[in-house]
Symmetry: C2
């Protein structure tokens, strides 16, 4: 019997019925003799309501720090309410429980209000309480700055709270209860062949979170990896005693499956800018990307190729939300950069194949390119890491590409079959 951290997201505490259901999961862990800390999000919709309320008090673009401080004070009330409601529900069922706000836990953050990073947790008092049999209900998403002000961690921050708390408590497990029953090989809305992964490595989950999988927030996975937190994603929408193994996120050595590719992701917040006929002189590219960096544009894949006439074409991808800002910056620096024409493109997506098996297996890339070529899908840009390959393609091919790749890498098959066949060929 050890310490367990459980986390319930907004849809898992959306109303009184769902809060009672979450309580049933917590009781189960407590009844089994565990020391239980539960991290909760705001009830579904509350955070949006509170963000809008705070924004209504002034122009949202007046993103001064003092305004963010006060917006955080408004928004953090969502989790405060849920934490006390779940504590009340457990008390009503005869359990000892109490709510803990960020400042009560001693969850210290930096002062970057609205997107604060956790600096540390003084989990001693909370650890003592849970070991003493009291269920701790912790308001997620929030902390306190050195100045004693309430901070919030940004969207998905409750995942990060849960993982940080699990690390501070040296918890046996950190179970992330959500509205899906695990992390899938791809988006089930795209193909019914998508299957739940039993296990994923931290590295794989991190790539997936960065590349469009919404199930866990990137920073929570980074933190879990850094502290080797035994993380699990599972469903809060089943009976508490149902078979509910979820997906375990753990060290690569503990991922027993032999599949080379674990998941196919699609990221739709992508755009591309092509600069045509840039003079082919040393330092031109550096100049372009310095300008973009100065304007906080997050550049991803870059390609440089000889232009048809003279000079080079330089093309790069960026989040679609940065596109207008990037175009304006480039237009303003036209004389300095010296390009002939700019072509922006919003109708692109990034499709990625991810798997730690790529480290030791060749042929993953060639399978990807052949599969897409067979479907006449043109690849605009490519980027790779040790455990993923991403390609930029036209948005209209997104679903076709995902389904074709899912099949090509053998992810359509049951896990038992897939273990003996890789789907990737040299």
């Amino acid at each position: 019997m050890g310490r367990i951290v459980m986390k319930f997201g907004g849809t898992s505490v959306a109303d009184l019925a769902r809060i009672r259901h979450a309580a049933a999961f917590a009781r189960r862990e407590a009844d089994a003799g565990n020391s239980v800390a539960v991290v909760v999000s705001a009830m579904a919709g509350e955070t949006n309501r509170l963000v809008d309320l705070a924004a209504s008090a002034g122009p949202p673009d007046a993103a001064l720090d003092v305004r963010n401080v006060e917006a955080d004070a408004v928004v953090a009330t969502g989790e405060q309410v849920t934490s006390a409601m779940l504590a009340l529900t457990l008390q009503n069922l005869g359990y000892r429980a109490r709510s803990w706000q960020g400042w009560q836990v001693g969850l210290k953050t930096d002062a970057a209000h609205g997107r604060a990073r956790i600096a540390g947790i003084d989990g001693d008092a909370l650890g003592e309480a849970v070991d003493n049999g009291e269920i701790a209900i912790v308001a997620g998403f929030q902390g306190v700055s050195d100045a004693g002000r309430v901070t919030t961690l940004g969207r998905g921050g409750s995942d990060t709270t849960a993982v940080a708390l699990a690390a501070a408590l040296k918890a046996e497990r950190c179970d992330i209860y959500t509205d899906v029953d695990g992390v899938y090989t791809t988006d089930p809305r795209i193909t019914k062949q998508a299957r739940r992964n039993d296990r994923l490595s931290y590295e794989e989950m991190l790539e997936m979170a960065s590349l469009g999988a919404k199930v866990l927030q990137t920073r929570s996975v980074e933190l879990a990896m850094a502290h080797r937190v035994n993380l699990r994603v599972l469903s809060s929408f089943v009976a508490p005693d149902a078979d509910n193994p979820g997906t375990v996120i753990c060290d690569e050595e503990e991922t027993m499956e032999q599949r080379i590719v674990s998941a196919i992701t699609v990221s739709r917040d992508e755009a591309r800018i092509s600069l045509l006929a840039v003079p082919d002189e040393p330092g031109r590219a550096a100049r372009i990307f310095t300008i973009l960096s100065d304007h906080d544009v997050n550049v991803d894949m870059i390609i440089q190729s000889p232009a048809r006439t003279a000079g080079a074409n330089i093309s790069f991808t960026l989040p679609e939300s940065d596109l207008d800002r990037a175009e304006a910056a480039i237009a303003a620096a036209k004389g300095d950069i010296g390009y002939d024409r700019v072509e922006p493109d919003r109708d692109v997506v990034k499709v990625s194949v991810i798997g730690v098996g790529m480290r030791s297996h060749t042929g993953v890339a060639s399978t990807m390119f052949r599969t897409l070529a067979d479907r006449q899908i043109n690849i605009h840009n490519i980027s790779t890491s040790e455990i993923k390959i991403s390609v930029l393609i036209d948005a209209e091919y997104a679903e076709l590409a995902v389904r074709a790749l899912h099949q090509a890498y053998g992810l359509d098959k049951a896990a038992a079959d897939a273990a003996s066949e890789t789907g990737a060929r040299p």
Copy 2:
């Protein structure tokens, strides 16, 4: 130029438009060079919504202390939101402002959750901030216990927060902005002749608050009296630059008006129980009131008179909400008390005349009795203090009695006239 505390109740911060209007009053004080702290209630309706939400998590009668602790964590979010919203609004207008929660102010209370009493305020940090030109927006109604949990002060608690803060800051004034423009000689819904009092003594205001006037919470007046806080009740529903003198609550020596009676109040939460033919032996009355006290019944006016047949009739008043509990306790102790019959009566009200002038003037009581007798209004019970006379009458005569007394004591006349004529005759 000094320190000023301003307080805005729920209707004065009911929505964004009203919050902006409250901000205009705060700006006015800041522009005049004052150090400004503003105490706010939850937006109108929010506290009820949050109380109901907390109650929905379990049977409301399960009034265990741990449950009240968590209910307070839910309910206190109402003031947290308003404080940050007003701070945002002022920032948007170019003012330096910040919100302060109870735990940030260092507003310490006892652990009587839901009805906590203020133990002390460590106002140093806040005082320094306001003297430094930053407008402090303080969440009313809430504090923090020695155990570090959020407490609430009970209904009307924001008045108490404001007065306690004014005392801690040694403020020049504590202005209570509300939806009426002052404290009236009686309820204006009963007579259009009701007039705003320019000044009232703490003692008068205290009697009024206890006797049915809803404008200020009793504890806030007690606290103001104890710390000699210069209190004022005024309207938030006029233009910020309008003539808005309100009613000043201050030491008796500072109330310049010569009126003997300052107000007529009606308290409708009253009931009466008569025990008929109680054996006329020493100790019977003591036995009755010990039983009632054991059952937490709040007994007010008591009359004992010889019964028609044998023994005595004992009659007393109590809050209507205590009536059922009292009847049950008396019925259970019938053998012990030895009465013949019990007569409960719900259809009674308590009408009171209040005024510090009674200390030095006679004839106030006889004017009251003669006025009511002239209207054929029967008086059931009477109680008096140094500065008030209360009578219990049938509820159907409430408005008639108030209007007659309001005229009899000269309160119908303009203040200037009233100062030279008392309305009370020996």
